[in-house]
């Protein structure tokens, strides 16, 4: 009889490792967050005490709410222990045109997390096109562009844990997040935690990973291994020789400078979305936690050097901090933009940076970790004999996800009209634009993106995301030749309802800081 998959070893801690452990344990070993008396899987996470985690990924998608809820973590506990705040989308600043030195105001648009109003009923985008001169797409179909500019929270103190008025993910302290996950996984979900150095990884005759050698814990064998070793990709890349597909020819950014800065005062508002401000050779992220901001400059080392990138980062910070910007502790990170050819080979799946990484423009890193871990948890094959059937289709989806991420990120650059550097010109060179994106763009000149442009149902980015970016950046689509009057009427009703909702929520919602203070005092209600 075929041997069941029972013993799983996750190599590497960090957010990817602990999220995978939590999601696997919640799916197979727990019910409603409570450990089953006879857990199905033995889950072990081994991490080296000597290897520091990257700990930058500080933005999540709304999917993280579901993930945390499924793992059984209280949202109040999560928010307070991870210095987390609410993220309602990404605001792109100066992406279409560079801001002139004479100080004209910055142009910006929001890619919000809430889907357009009425999404389940009809697609408002074609109906909005006729009004594009009067109202932005984001303001016509949603509330978050307005609300996030007021630093308002997506919910009230009476809104139960993980529920919302407007869809949200989080900004968080990645180091503290790993700690919370570790504590929860080991104390509540029965995950075994080994702190030891893996000295060798062994394969059996069939090419599967058989066991690990460790410095102090002897040999550790398992039926399945999860590679969360970061960019080193020790198992999938090094042992199983899965090639790395470099995407630098499409997305040039390969370096980042990261820094943490304090708020000028304790009552400075906490931003409700990630700010992404375009620079001459990259862009700057700005993430507001309750305790500090995390800011970083992502750039292309082929187009600029570290000194200039650092100078631009400092210039960006100057107006918003009251500290000495010349003595900041700036960390340099290198990014190899790209992904492995497959994420699952033999009896090993890579999760997180071990399977690939790209610039954090749409904060897709943790979302992909969640997808990978959920996929593994939900599709875990019963035994080795049927594993290749599952891994083949998971790998297919993995590649579809990467293709979509790359094309969606590239879209932000392709639509730019900036001409202040070779960087932006190079981004618009057709040789750097994937063929399928070029075709889509041709199509979108005649019709707005719709669900038919999306390859499959569980795609990471829905058609609405493409709409928000295209029309946020002033893309011109022909007006539809015909719209049914009945649908037009309904669209008008929805536009009006959206205005009312925006005004209503503006009165109702507290600021992020006000809500977080109340949560610290009272906690969010469980229901």
């Amino acid at each position: 009889m075929a041997q069941a998959i029972q013993n799983i070893i996750i190599v590497g801690g960090g957010t990817a490792g602990w999220l995978t452990a939590g999601i696997l344990a919640a799916e197979h070993n727990a019910d409603n967050g409570k450990l089953s008396p006879s857990p199905k899987l033995n889950i072990t996470l081994i991490e080296s005490p000597d290897v520091p985690t990257i700990g930058v990924g500080e933005g999540t998608w709304p999917s993280m709410r579901t993930t945390l809820k499924n793992i059984g973590i209280s949202e109040t506990e999560f928010l307070l222990s991870c210095d987390a705040s609410f993220k309602q989308g990404s605001r792109f600043i100066n992406w279409t045109h560079a801001q002139k030195a004479n100080g004209n105001s910055a142009e910006h648009y929001l890619h919000p997390f809430s889907l357009p109003i009425g999404t389940n009923e009809l697609d408002l985008c074609p109906h909005w096109l006729a009004h594009r001169e009067q109202v932005s797409f984001a303001d016509a179909v949603g509330q978050q562009n307005q609300l996030s500019q007021l630093s308002l929270a997506p919910k009230q103190i009476t809104t139960g844990e993980y529920q919302f008025q407007n869809n949200y993910g989080y900004h968080l302290n990645a180091g503290k997040f790993s700690q919370l996950l570790q504590q929860h996984c080991t104390e509540k979900l029965g995950v075994t935690h080994i702190q030891d150095h893996v000295t060798a990884i062994h394969k059996n005759d069939s090419g599967d990973i058989s066991h690990l050698s460790t410095k102090q814990s002897g040999e550790l064998s398992a039926d399945f291994f999860v590679d969360c070793t970061g960019v080193k990709s020790l198992i999938l890349g090094e042992q199983l020789n899965v090639p790395f597909i470099c995407q630098k020819s499409v997305l040039f950014n390969d370096s980042a400078l990261a820094v943490q800065v304090p708020y000028p005062s304790a009552d400075t508002e906490i931003a409700s979305c990630t700010h992404s401000t375009a620079q001459s050779n990259g862009w700057i992220w700005d993430i507001g936690l309750p305790t500090r901001r995390g800011v970083g400059h992502v750039y292309s080392s082929s187009h600029t050097d570290q000194a200039q990138a650092e100078q631009q980062l400092v210039e960006y910070l100057k107006p918003t901090v009251n500290i000495d910007v010349d003595n900041l502790e700036i960390r340099k990170l290198s990014i190899a933009p790209g992904h492995r050819q497959v994420c699952w080979k033999n009896n090993c799946m890579a999760v997180g940076m071990a399977s690939g990484f790209i610039e954090p423009l749409e904060a897709s890193a943790l979302a992909l970790v969640e997808w990978s871990a959920n996929t593994l948890a939900q599709q875990l094959p019963a035994n080795r004999q049927v594993m290749d059937i599952v891994s083949a289709r998971v790998n297919k989806r993995f590649n579809q996800h990467w293709q979509q991420i790359i094309e969606f990120l590239k879209l932000h650059y392709v639509l730019s009209k900036r001409s202040d550097s070779d960087y932006w010109h190079d981004h618009r060179e057709s040789c750097s634009i994937p063929e399928s994106l070029q075709q889509q763009l041709k199509l979108w000149r005649t019709q707005a993106p719709s669900k038919h442009d999306i390859q499959h149902t569980d795609a990471l980015f829905p058609a609405a995301s493409f709409q928000f970016v295209l029309y946020g950046m002033g893309f011109q689509t022909l007006l539809p030749s015909q719209l049914k009057p009945s649908l037009q009427n309904r669209a008008q009703q929805l536009f009006t309802e959206n205005i009312k909702r925006t005004q209503g929520l503006q009165q109702l919602l507290p600021t992020n800081r006000e809500l977080l203070a109340k949560i610290a005092q009272y906690g969010l209600p469980k229901i």
């Binding site: 009230q156 103190i157 009476t158 809104t159 109340k518 005092q521 009272y522 906690g523 969010l524 209600p525 469980k526 229901i527």
Partner: protein
């Protein structure tokens, strides 16, 4: 509301409190806060539900008097048509306050009576006096003091009760849809009640524990109180 002041027999010696029930004295309440210690009396007349405090998100229990803001269906012809009026209504215009006192050199927190100085019930002509002309509390004022003490302890117990309900997942939200005889429809959202299925499935030892705390009683009082919605509807239809 104005800032409450500490009640004292000097500034307030001539004050009287109107105890009549009327809209002009602020009795046009949709609902009021209640607590398990008075559930037995409350459930005889009013539906008991749970609601979240908009300021803190914390649950409290309420006795319901109407179907919408400022509607108290028990207020009829200048009278409150029920034998029992919840204490958080009867206490008006008094509130419980705290003050720090030095007792044998040790700082102690003492509960004291506060007064909402601009409450329409307060005057010097009619109603219940607070102090006797030559000093001393009137029985009415002593009763107010007892009432505030009961409320104080009742609310502490209520928090414990509701925390227990939440922990056992016994609270569920519900939408109350009512249709009047004239065809008018009302929908009330934001209220919570006991989930009877979860209650029925509780293991014996949990029930025993609830019983020891007195909470099993309170849970069933809450469930029984729901039949009073019928009475509210009758009042409403009779309008």
């Amino acid at each position: 509301m104005n800032k409450p002041v500490l009640l004292n027999s000097v500034d307030h010696k001539d004050l009287k409190i109107i105890t009549e029930r009327s809209e002009k004295y602020g009795d046009n309440l949709w609902y009021t806060v209640t607590f398990p210690a008075e559930f037995r009396s409350v459930q005889a007349h009013y539906p008991i539900f749970f609601q979240k405090d908009t300021n803190t998100g914390q649950f409290y229990s309420i006795a319901m008097f109407g179907f919408q803001h400022k509607e108290n269906l028990f207020l009829q012809d200048g009278k409150w048509q029920a034998a029992y009026i919840p204490l958080t209504v009867r206490r008006q215009p008094f509130l419980i306050g705290q003050q720090t006192v030095q007792e044998d050199g040790v700082e102690q927190i003492q509960r004291v009576i506060h007064l909402d100085p601009n409450h329409p019930r307060i005057n010097e002509d009619q109603g219940e006096p607070l102090f006797f002309p030559y000093g001393g509390n009137t029985p009415y004022l002593d009763e107010v003091g007892d009432m505030l003490e009961t409320i104080h302890h009742g609310l502490i117990d209520s928090k414990n009760f509701i925390d227990t309900l939440i922990k056992l997942e016994l609270l569920e939200s519900f939408t109350l849809d009512i249709e009047l005889d004239n065809g008018e429809k009302h929908q009330m959202i934001g209220f919570y009640t006991i989930n009877e299925e979860t209650l029925a499935a509780l293991p014996a030892e949990t029930l025993a524990q609830l019983h020891q705390q007195g909470y099993l009683n309170a849970i069933y009082m809450t469930l029984a109180s729901q039949s009073n919605i019928r009475q509210l509807l009758n009042f409403k239809n009779a309008q």
